[in-house]
Amino acid sequence: MSEQPEQPVPPVAREIGVPAMALIVLVGVSGSGKSTFARRHFGPTQVISSDFCRGLVADDENDQSATPDAFEMLHHIVGTRLRRGLLTVVDATSVQYQARQQLVALAKAHNVLVDAIVLDVPAELAVERNATRPDRDFGPHVITRQHKDLRRSLGKISRDGFRRVHVLRGAEIDNVTITLEPAWTDLRHRTGPFDIIGDVHGCSSELETLLSTLGYQDGRHPQGRTAVFVGDLVDRGPDTPGVLRRVMGMVEAGTALCVCGNHEQKLVRALNGRKVRVAHGLAESLAQLGEADPEFVTAATAFMDGLISHYQLDEGRLVVAHAGLKEPYHGRASGRVRAFALYGDTTGETDEYGLPIRYPWAEEYRGRAMVVYGHTPTVEPEWVNNTICLDTGVVFGGRLTALRYPERELVSVPAEQVWYEPARPLAGPPQRDPAALDIGDVRGNRFVETRFGGTIRIREENAAAALEIMSRFAVDPRWLVYLPPTMAPPETSRLDGYLEHPAEAFEEFAAAGVTRVVCEEKHMGSRAVAVLARTPEAAEKRFGVADGGAGMVYTRTGRPFFGALMGELVDGLRAAAEPLWAELGTDWLVLDGELLPWSAKAESLIRGQYASVGAAAGAALPEVVAALEAAAGRGLDVGSTLDRARRRQDNAARFRDAYARYCWPVSGLDGVRFAPFQILAAEGRATAVHQPHDWHLDLLARLDSPLIGPTRRVYVSLDSAESRDAAVAWWEAMTAAGGEGMVVKPVERPEGRVQPGVKVRGQEYLRIIYGPDYTESLDVLRRRFLGRKRSMALREHALGLEALSRLADGEPLWRVHEAVFGVLAMESEPVDPRL
């Protein structure tokens, strides 16, 4: 700690070190100065005192009857802090073994170290101090008893289970310096880059080849990279001493790190003369080391004995452990953590080869840190929830594999020969788990971090509604990699006869600093997301769906299109996408588009809702007109009612025309068209994020298939009135001919809270939305509230881009699903559905 040269050297200077992440138990009688001591050395939230807890549960810090409840509260608070990885100091007398035992057990349950600091003051001093405190009304006998307990404790407190017991007496108490010692596992300040190397098992020659492939020259990388060994350097292979010599040299020189493997652990025991069963290649190591220089053997034993269970690296973003490590154990220290890191999470059972069955912890892993490990030989390393096993069984004739971090590149060299026969065949790639999703990934109030829209809150009740839709109606979540966001209209137009007009859209984007927008024809069909793979094998590799399917087309709430025709639709779209595979260097794609006609998907809605209203109007209004005409014929004054009835009859006819335009018969896929307007993602890139709209539209225009419909568009320079007028004229012509309208988008993705696009719908089309007679009530309809819709559009857009980015980055399914689920949940928010 800091030096204090100016101050006089205190009579008794003491320096003690405690773990930076630990439970610290203060031990001392009432009045020994624990609270003052704690205040001086620790932060106010780090210290939990029994008096404070007594106050919490009894409104009186000295109410001894509340003591059992107070300690229950204290243990709860301490447990919560330890679970969250916070240094915690307990300020209670803890002079009795029982009290300390509970705290030690609590620390061990959370896999943190626990130190005791004993303040050993004379009983008389404590009594004197208590006497000056009016709130302490217990007599001196209490202190005397506590003091007796403490004296009894001091003899054997070192056997309580504390890592260390620091006893302070007299002036030491006031002059001690406390140093926080980082955990041995904590190398978060080392940011790499790293080359993490899998199980070597004495294959010295392959290790040398791999190191030079990685660019190391005599154990040193010219770009200053650091090698990290996942352990199991020894046993089975031909040259364990050679491997040890190389790794020890690199660790010594600071160019490598190494964690302990189960084979090192056992070899050390054997070398130290402990009785171990000589099996699994231990004999080879012992024989080889038997021929080595004894000094080297001593050094190697010390080296292996000093290896620790795991390392946290790169600000906690990377964890290396021999057999992997679940998230609650990252940075923790206990026998349990070490056993997990060395042997994995075993079930206690063994398989038909007599080897332990391992619990598939990686399938449940939800941590943010990448976990890289070895231990279980596999044929191909595969990412499972941001974890990867690098043991590719070089000693069994497989390969020696390294992972470049942060590049996420795998580098491997083949075994020169089979050095050792495996007890069981190497495992293939881990079975894709159909239920890789857990309820914890989606349930409750959630905060989803997004790259392009900050943290987005998903409310519990919305998640509950989405859970039902997702479970009952949506396609397999492995296909459901994206859901399109909602889109807002522009500010309401004041122009006579119009509710929406392009002028407001252009104005909005110009005000946001956008210079160029694209106006895309808005197709009146059903929004469709097409996930396509070049082959069923590519689908299995990328999406993990192994049922022979090569794609899926789904609606904006994730439901499949067309049941039985899906296969045909997917195959047609895959064929149509042929030019894109090579162009984008990908074997899968996600396309955003509109599926036409509207009636193909929505016929039941059209019949049940729109045509129904048309039928009722068609049946009723002529009778109303006839009855009013008869009354007028009798001389009754029904003039204005009759006029209105006639206008409504005309509106109803226009309404029927409006929906009928988007209905045409299809037979099978004959008549069905998909009009794509964006390539959302492909291998390695979220193109929706990084490419401007003209790139998408130009590329998609190259698709040539009867199944593909064009998306007409015009580009507008917002600083040119002529350019704007031309686009307005284009929109007017298109909507007059029955078109739905257009979508206006900034060509380049803008920064900040700018809408990704707004829709401008045509006059006649809006009858479908606002009813046949909406033109009679424009004044009322203009009072519509857009704020919520616009905010939702931004949030859903951010979630959508996040899902695509996670997909393109190869993040695990649950991470993609979390963002997609968020979009669906938001859609259950009550927002005027007509906007």
Partner: protein, 495 residues
């Protein structure tokens, strides 16, 4: 929307006295949902016609009521309410002709008390259940019924008929009765109401139905529909999702099995649910009043649980909680969890089980929560037995492996009891076309069920036995099939 009432009683203009509306005047009445007008297109001695015209502005209707209106179509601007004869018209009629409906007429009391020749015309009457239902409802009341279906859209003849009929009723009926018939039966035919059904609805029904409803052969259906209950907020959230998902409201009904409704108006009329009718049909298919299949199924599951000695049970897909209720009644079962993906179903279950009034000792044995068979869930683990009663057939086949993993792989109960329809037996249901429930994604034959069950058992280390549920037809098997899985002693793990 329009309603005309004509009479050929002489002098026909006496209709003006009976209705308390002068034939030579146009009268306006203001309502919260629009304006009603009464006028007479014809008023001669031989024939007189009164017209009730209700002008509903759907936009104002939406704006004034907001989205929480119970009749979902009111939440839409695109709405048939301005044109069709619905509960809005019934309400307007009740108010505008209040005195006439009570059968009072100071000027012509004798006339008000006797049957006169009447003709009632509704150009667009929504009729859920088809024109046949209009006949079934009005004919027993002394009407001669002419109901012509209105085509949906003449430009799309393949779409067929709409749910509207052009209805003409002719008969010798007391005017007050005629008005009450319309007041009750318009919303019943429409099967939707524009206001929340409150407890006073029962009184209203009894008053309006005085003298004719009790003897009506379709009184059970009329009562159930009249007292329609639409529920809860979560449903609205779902409805919003359904709307953008291009789905009709019907598809949203959670696959909850209601108790088969008894043929009595007293039997809890408030539990009426659209699914009830269909199930009534299912049960009616077999001959004279057998035990309903859902009851047999529950008994079979309870017996199977008893046979395997389960003390803790999780009902995955508990619906409205019938099995959970039966399990609670058995004190040998110490822990019960009811899980459903539908929040609406859980609300129903909580209500039916009277969760808020349940004694603590019983309440402590029960846990009801929302969960999904798509996601592994730690809360599913640790039970002696899991029940999947009529659940698997509600999943798309590609989603079954996830269910298998969630239940057999992750939750790993000692026993799993699965029931599902036997598709072979469907030929026994004369009225059935297609599958037994609109939400069923498949129905298996016995061989298909056994193929699936034995593969699952092998993959996850279970043994499996089968039992019939219900009448065991020698050729077709039983209507419901059941598999009982038992975890093997040698706990084989998934490959």
């Amino acid at each position: 929307m329009l309603l005309t009432i004509s009479t050929t009683h002489r002098p026909a203009t006496d209709l003006g006295f009976l209705l308390h509306k002068h034939p030579d005047k146009v009268q306006e009445f203001s309502h919260s949902f629009g304006t009603a007008q009464v006028f007479y297109p014809e008023a001669g001695d031989e024939r007189c016609t009164a017209a009730l015209l209700l002008d509903v502005d759907p936009i104002r209707l939406v704006r004034s009521r907001g989205a929480s209106s119970p009749d979902f179509s009111l939440g839409q601007y695109v709405n048939d309410r301005p044109y069709a004869a619905s509960s809005l018209l019934a309400s307007a009629l009740a108010e505008v002709f209040r005195t006439a409906r009570a059968g009072r007429c100071a000027a012509r009391q004798e006339l008000a008390e006797r049957a006169i020749p009447l003709e009632i015309f509704l150009p667009a009457l929504p009729c859920r259940g088809g024109a046949e239902l209009a006949h079934r409802f009005f004919e027993p009341l002394g009407w001669q019924v002419e109901a012509v279906a209105v085509p949906l859209d003449e430009s799309f003849p393949e779409w067929g008929d709409s749910r509207y009929v052009r209805l003409t009723l002719r008969g010798e009926v007391r005017l007050a009765d005629a008005l009450n018939h319309l007041y009750v039966l318009l919303p019943v035919l429409d099967d939707a109401k524009h206001y929340w059904v409150a407890s006073d609805e029962v009184d209203k029904l009894i008053r309006a139905g005085e003298g004719w409803l009790a003897a009506h052969p379709a009184r059970a259906l009329i009562t159930r529909r009249y007292l329609t209950r639409r529920t809860a907020l979560t449903r609205e959230a779902l409805a919003r999702l359904a709307e953008i998902g291009d789905d009709l409201e019907d598809a949203l009904e959670p696959p909850i099995e209601e108790e088969t409704p008894e043929a009595s108006t007293e039997a809890e009329p408030l539990t009426g649910d659209p699914t009830g009718e269909r199930l009534a049909g299912e049960a009616a298919a077999a001959s004279p009043r057998p035990t309903p299949l859902n009851l047999l199924r529950r008994e079979a599951v309870l017996a199977a649980l008893d046979d395997v000695g389960a003390r803790t049970v999780i009902d995955l897909g508990c619906g409205s909680g019938q099995l959970v209720g039966a399990l609670l009644a058995n004190r040998a079962i110490t822990k019960i969890a009811g899980v459903d993906v539908s929040a609406h179903a859980l609300t129903l279950a909580a209500r039916k089980l009277k969760l808020d009034r349940m004694p603590e000792a019983r309440r402590d044995r029960l846990d009801l929560f929302q969960g999904s068979l798509t996601y592994t869930d730690i809360r599913f683990a640790g039970f002696d037995a899991a029940v999947l009663m009529e659940v698997v057939e509600h999943l798309d086949p590609p989603r079954l492996p996830a269910l298998e993993r969630v239940v057999f792989g992750a939750a790993k109960p000692g026993h799993v009891i699965v029931t599902t329809p036997n598709a072979e037996y469907n030929v026994r249901y004369e009225t059935l076309t297609g599958m037994r429930h609109p939400d069923h994604r498949f129905e298996w034959t016995r061989a298909e069920f056994r193929d699936w069950a034995s593969a699952v058992a092998a993959r996850y280390g279970y043994r499996v036995a089968y039992r019939p549920v219900g009448d065991d037809d020698p050729e077709l098997g039983s209507p419901t099939q059941m598999a009982i899985f038992t975890a093997g002693d040698d706990d084989v793990r998934a490959a």
